[in-house]
Symmetry: C2
Subunit: 225 residues, 2 copies
DNA sequence: GTCTATAAACAGATAGAC
DNA sequence: GTCTATCTGTTTATAGAC
C-alpha cells in the first residue's frame, strides 16, 4: 500500500491542512513506522510544507499524538454506530452467544479484512507492539473500551463476572485469535499458499474463530451447570 | 530493557567481533526497530568500531540478514533439544492432546515469559508485522517449521489431516492466542492491573489457553465420532 | 497561516593508515 | 582485521519573509 499521489488537501483553510497532515502521517507511520518516516515525506503527501508540521503540532512527536487522538475519535464514531445497529438487530439480549459471534465477525472484518478505516490498523499494531507516548490515548480510547465491552458480552454468555481475572484473560485469548491474522498476515499468506487474504479466505478464518469460541463457551456452560 | 553496558566482545578475534555485532544488533533492532537504530549505536554496544559493520556485513541491511540467520540457528538448536526431551517425556505418542498442551506451554514460555533467548522475540515480532528482506529467513527457518510441527500434532489429536486448510488455520488460531500476549503485553499489563507479567501471571494465562484448546479439541472429536 | 532558507546534528558508507 | 577520519546526503527544528 502506498500513499495516493492525489492531493490530500482539497483547498486552503487551516483545518484542511491540519487534517491532511494527520491523515498522511497516519498512513505513513503505519506503513514505515515513526522513525522510518521523515517529516518531509509527510508534508509532501499532505501537499503542505515542512514548516506547517511545527506550526500545527509543535514537533513530529506532537503529530503522532494528534494521529492517536484522530484514531480514537474515528473508533468512537464507528463504535456508537455499531451499537445503534446492534440494538436494531438483536432487540433483547436474547442470545448472548450470538452477540459474541457478531462482535467477533465485526472485529475480524475491521482488523483483517479491513474495508473501512484500513489505515488505522497498522498504526495501532505498531503502538501495541512498541508503545510510544501516543499509546496512552490508544489504550484509554480504543483498547480498553473494546475489551470492556467484550467482557460484558462474555458475562452475559457464561455467567462469569465481567470484572473477573478469568474473564479478562479469556477475552484477550479471543482478541488474540483475531488480531494474530493481521499481525502475521504475511506468514499466514505464505503458509496457506494464498496470493492475498481476500474476502473468501477471511470468511474461512472467521468461521474457524467463531467455531472455536462457540466450543469454548459451550464447554464452560457445561462445566458450571 | 536496555542493552547492557558491559562489553559484548570478550577479547580480540574476528569471530568474536562478528558475534558481538550480531547480538547487539539483535537486541537494538528488537527494542528500537531497524530505522530507529544507528550503526554507531550498534558498534558502541558491541565494543567495536563503525567500520567493522561494513567489513563483516557489507551494510546495515547485511547485518539484519545476519541477525535473522543467527536467530534461525538458535531456534533450530532449541527445537532439536526440545524434541530430544519430548521423546524422553512421552515415550510413545500415547496421548496427542498432552503433547499439544506441552507444546503450547513451551511456546508460551518462549514468547511471553521468556526465560531463554528473550532478545529474539521482539525482533521476530517486528519482522512478522512489517516484513523486511530478512523475513524470508525467519519464515523458512522458524515460522514454517514450528507451524508444520503443530499441524502434525493437531492431526494426531483430531484425525484431521495435517495438510488440510482447516488444520493450518486452526493451528494459527492457537498460535494467535499465545503470541498476542506478547504483542499486546503492555495492553494486557494495564488491563489486568499487573505491574508486570511475571511467572505467576504467565501460569494463569497459559492455563486459560490450554483449557481453551482442550475444549476445542474435545468438541471436534465429539463432532467427528 | 503559509512557505522558504538555513542551522545544527546525525545518518550510512567509504578510504586509507596501521 | 581494526580503527579513524571524512564524504555525502538527510534529519528535525527554527527564523523570518510574505
Amino acid at each position: 500500500m502506498v500513499v495516493e499521489s492525489q492531493k490530500l488537501k482539497a483547498s486552503g483553510g487551516a483545518d484542511q491542512t491540519r487534517a491532511a497532515l494527520v491523515r498522511a502521517a497516519l498512513i505513513l507511520f503505519g506503513e514505515q513506522g515513526f522513525e522510518g518516516t521523515s517529516t518531509r515525506e509527510i508534508a509532501a503527501a499532505a501537499n503542505a510544507n515542512i514548516g506547517s508540521i511545527a506550526y500545527h503540532f509543535g514537533s513530529k512527536e506532537g503529530l503522532r499524538i494528534a494521529v492517536a487522538d484522530h484514531i480514537v475519535a474515528t473508533i468512537q464514531a464507528i463504535a456508537s454506530r455499531n451499537e445503534a445497529e446492534a440494538v436494531k438487530e438483536v432487540p433483547a439480549s436474547q442470545d448472548a452467544s450470538l452477540a459474541i459471534t457478531a462482535m467477533i465477525e465485526r472485529m475480524f472484518s475491521f482488523f483483517v479484512v479491513q474495508q473501512e478505516a484500513a489505515e488505522i490498523v497498522p498504526f495501532v499494531l505498531r503502538e501495541m507492539a512498541a508503545p510510544s507516548p501516543a499509546f496512552e490515548r490508544i489504550y484509554a480510547g480504543m483498547i480498553e473500551p473494546i475489551h470492556k465491552r467484550c467482557c460484558d458480552l462474555w458475562e452475559a454468555a457464561t455467567g462469569e463476572p465481567a470484572g473477573s481475572e478469568e474473564t479478562r484473560i479469556n477475552v484477550f485469548t479471543v482478541m488474540g485469535q483475531i488480531i494474530y491474522f493481521r499481525l502475521a498476515r504475511e506468514a499466514v499468506r505464505r503458509r496457506m499458499g494464498w496470493a492475498d487474504i481476500d474476502f473468501e479466505h477471511g470468511a474461512k478464518i472467521s468461521k474457524a474463530i467463531t467455531s472455536n469460541v462457540a466450543d469454548i463457551l459451550a464447554a464452560k456452560k457445561e462445566r458450571t451447570s
